[in-house]
Symmetry: C2
Subunit: 217 residues, 2 copies
Amino acid sequence: MTDFQPTDRTRVRRVANRASYDRDTIYSILDDALVAHVAFIAGDAPVVLPMAFVRVGDAVYLHGSTRARMFETIAGGAPICVTVTLLDGLVLARSAFHHSVNYRSVTIHGSGSVVAERDRALTVLRALTEKIASGRWEAVREPNEQEMKATLVVEIPIVEVSAKVRSGDPIDDEDDYALPIWAGSVAIERRYAEPVADARLPGDIEVPEHVRKLTRR
Amino acid sequence: MTDFQPTDRTRVRRVANRASYDRDTIYSILDDALVAHVAFIAGDAPVVLPMAFVRVGDAVYLHGSTRARMFETIAGGAPICVTVTLLDGLVLARSAFHHSVNYRSVTIHGSGSVVAERDRALTVLRALTEKIASGRWEAVREPNEQEMKATLVVEIPIVEVSAKVRSGDPIDDEDDYALPIWAGSVAIERRYAEPVADARLPGDIEVPEHVRKLTRR
């Protein structure tokens, strides 16, 4: 697969060596994150909200209630921006100025359209559920007709996109390397805690394998 | 301190019982997060980017390079939206439809202004550094005049703001509670890994206490 081409909007100008238009890099960041920040314009001001999302093929998908006013703007094809950020660690430099964080982020500029076909919408909802916990879809009750009708699935093709990645050591001013100051990085690890059963779950229903494996290391 | 008053923009309509305008709740979410997603309008489209931030008193602060074109819009007082999200866990319901995540988020609508006074800007940069690692400021080289001149510190007063918090068990349809399906939640823990020294750090400089304590549990 070919990589993405930078546009006026996606060409990273600040610290351009952190930019990437590589498809594998961009998709792996999208697939590692559960939540995207989605921006749209309401009146004459921007609004940005966190939303669950999933990538399937060359598009990302959001979903929302047909009754959610905010989501109408997104579903209606207005210009939106979708940014996904994974915070990977602290970067502790010898100077305050060069402190930073290690991160991976992707920014998509585009617009959404409603996935009207029931089977395609169901495929997206399945992918969303499987992203939360692989194996979950087969274990739970599938959406009924009423739930499908209450849910808007919105597709945003991944076309105008860039990634930005910072990793590794701090970059200090050359003179500062002689200072007797500890410098380095501290990674931030995300991990799942032990599953907690719903208060109303009967005691004889054991934690299934697809949930147990989330916490296995 | 009084709580915030909802406005047309900040009154949460969808799942309104998750909304909060409580000052302590809002400030604790802001103080727990290192990265905010900041949205602004560029041309006729929204843009949202991740940025380090810090709260000091009743304002949040961003900083950027005086050479960053994107940051000029934010520094220049255009309408912006700042959203901070902490993903706390997976919510595994008995139905696919009711799957969710536990999270805490804050959304601020407003605009920024440049902190022109050097001492106030320095106080903010100190707070930013201390947020990354408490005790770090005293250990590192402070910003020099050239670095201060290259940095724009922008203040966004916290006035129009709301929090949204989801925690605890899934909420299933009443009929579904009888299904023999495991349901519950899985918390996501964030923790710091062992510090990694910069490749150029002399071997006789030990990890200082303010860095070691990050990983202590």
